[in-house]
Amino acid sequence: MGGVHPPEQKLTAGKAIEVLPVPSVLSIPLGQALGAPSRAVVAKGDAVKAGQLIARGEAFISANIHSPVSGKVLKVDEVIDTSGYRKPAISIQTEGDEWMDGIDRSPELVRECLLNQEAIVARIKEMGIVGLGGATFPSHVKLMVPGGKKVDTLIINGVECEPYLTSDHRLMLERTEEVLIGTTILMKGLGVSKALIGIEGNKPDALEALGRLAGAYPGISVHALKVKYPQGGEKQLIRALTGREVPSGRLPLEVGCVVNNVGTAFAVYEAVQKNKPLVERVVTVTGKSLTRPGNFLVRIGTPVSALIEAAGGVPESTGKVINGGPMMGKALTSLDVPVVKGTSGILLMDDTSSARVEVEPCIRCSRCVSVCPMGLEPYLLALLSANEAWDRVETGRAMDCIECGSCQYTCPSGRPLLDHLRLGKARVGQIIRNRRN
């Protein structure tokens, strides 16, 4: 149900992954995963190696962080991160590129996984793997199925329905077998015998590549999905692949599914088979005015400015820089912010396309209702939010909103529907929390 068809703009789909040179100074935020920030275990002046643990995730939902480079800790204080706020971070001055012992950085494939279920979960936790699709939920937590819940299907998200972004696409093409081995490991970690890989039909090469090799991996099947935003939304993907609908306010566990991104499957492969922590990722750097848009393998903590430099530098016409895709990404306040585990792309938009369209009265065309993938009434929720009718915002199920932006994208009156919905969600969330306490 619902959905829109924004122009795909996959400018970098044909650009092979390039390794970005290691920058001289990196800032690694301590709050890179959904959940509690990690606690720094290094101090100013400490020497670190690449892959060394520098911050520990101590809460149930938090993740370890490792040094992406070798060098010296410059400081442990605060930097502005992608949220636009000052957040605790570790800054490291790069010296050489010396890695911890035991980390296998060779391209050689390791197919056999010798670890048992428990050891797999422990390794994924140790290596600081988080969901790389954008939500950055710690991956080991997803594998620990609570008692009473039964999971029968692992879903691997290779949809990449956001316009412009191609990092998952390139991974599927260039690290095809690694993604499949990672999937097998996730299946073992989860204790399921079935995995479905969902990819939008606009990536026939990725479908072909994975489909060709998947035969050798029992239980894994590859599925072409209709090209429609937000096909890669977790709940939308589960429905497209299994016909099951996650009930309001519940997790995919409720319908026996766990969803992981292809990037996460690749990171799991490296963590389990190569003993390599999550210290680098593929980031798409794109925009119509960039001279060299591309897909780059980047160390976590690299400033966004270095990435854009590699893509040809900031064009004069740039009006907005987005962390992520144009539908759900966040506008950056500064180009000094570091790449984090959840950074899938950097999108530069021109002055002309940076401004919003003029806001006109709602003409009740009902387009927002028909495109909402959650079956909500965005026009009404936005109005109720603006009128601070929080009880009706709640009963209108605003908390189901996945903030995909389809309503605002499609609104012929250019109304800021999602702005109002976000406000409504924030207030209703607060009210619900207060009620519980």
Binding site: V4, R244, P326, M327, L347, R356, E403, G405, G414, R422
Partner: protein
């Protein structure tokens, strides 16, 4: 370095604009406009120009001097109201009456509720129904269409509409068979060579416009399908019961303002419901009311009244019939 723009997602916007949609509707009405000129000549041009001009003028005057706010007459909505009002009157309607219709449509039907997007009733229909009950003679004196290419006499002759012939004849106790010689055949009603309001006569011209609106996704199928379906079902049942007294479904679809109402007036964004299920109920309700008025009512035609009545039900439908929420029904594999 210059300042970066900061705003919430989404950072891109679709192609649809109010203007784009409104002028799309206007474009969809062009075939019917051309046909009306073909059949009714310069009178049709006169009526359309006066109606559109008056609607724009009244909206401008009210926005500028009464509300003292921004003027938005270029958004296309007043143009649509003007064209629809002209489509719903006979081509020989005196200009003074037309001006009153435009004033009621824009002034009472639209601006008194707060303008674009806020009106409860379809403005063109408010104007039309006001004229129908205030000037019944002028509003029901229809010139016989006379193709502009035809030779011979130039004086327009007036005559009844097919629905008028039907209602009047049945009232006198005549059977459909007796009336059939006076009624136009299907091809004539499809093409438009019969008496009626200037924009409603040609079903085919209206259907071309409707197809364009459906293909360009200016409207969706829900309201037209439900409206059409309920008319066919309702009239079909009675026709099967007594075909000598009740006209068949095709006759009902091709006469009066049925096609115009189904595709161009019942689908008006502002005055129709928001969820697909509510749109289906709304369309079906309009169809049933139309048929009730046509079969038992005092007026031969019921489309305008039916749509206005269903307009009034929209807030209730919006409240009661919600879209299907994701996760409402958990489907097993």
């Amino acid at each position: 370095m210059k300042q970066l723009t900061i705003s919430g997602s989404p950072h891109v916007h679709g192609q649809d604009t109010i203007r784009g949609l409104m002028y799309g509707v206007v474009l969809a009405m062009v075939p019917a406009m051309l046909v009306s000129v073909y059949f009714f000549g310069l009178d049709a041009v006169r009526v359309m120009l006066i109606s559109v001009g008056a609607c724009l003028l009244f909206e401008f005057l009210i926005q500028k001097y009464l509300l003292k706010g921004p003027v938005s007459i270029t958004d296309g909505s007043a143009v649509i109201t003007g064209i629809l009002l002209s489509f719903n009157v006979p081509s020989n309607l005196p200009w003074g009456i037309l001006l009153i219709g435009a004033l009621v449509a824009i002034g009472i039907g639209k601006m008194s509720f707060g303008g674009l997007g806020r009106n409860i009733f379809n403005p063109a229909l408010v104007g039309r129904v006001f004229l129908l009950i205030s000037f019944p003679v002028q509003m029901t004196t229809w010139p016989i269409p006379r193709p502009i290419v035809a030779e011979g006499i130039t004086d327009a002759i007036t005559g009844p509409t097919p629905l008028g012939i039907l209602k009047e004849g049945l009232r006198k106790g005549e059977s459909l068979q007796d009336l059939s010689s006076q009624l136009p055949d299907y091809l004539t009603t499809l093409m438009g060579n019969h008496g009626g309001c200037l924009g409603e006569v040609s079903a085919i011209a209206l259907l071309i416009g409707a197809a364009y609106m459906l293909v360009r996704r200016i409207i969706t199928w829900h309201i037209p399908a439900a409206y059409l379906g309920s008319v066919v079902l309702f009239s079909g049942i009675f026709w099967l019961i007594d075909p000598t007294y009740y006209a068949d479904p095709l006759f009902h679809l091709l006469t009066g303002g049925m096609i115009l109402g189904i595709f161009f007036m019942a689908t008006d964004y502002t005055t129709s419901p928001m969820s697909p299920s509510a749109q289906l109920v709304y369309g079906a309700g309009a169809g049933i009311i139309t048929m009730i008025i046509r079969i038992w009512g005092a007026y031969p035609e019921g489309v305008s009244f039916a749509i206005l009545i269903m307009n009034a039900v929209v807030p209730l439908l919006d409240r009661g019939l919600k879209p299907r929420r994701f996760g409402e029904a958990i489907k097993a594999q």
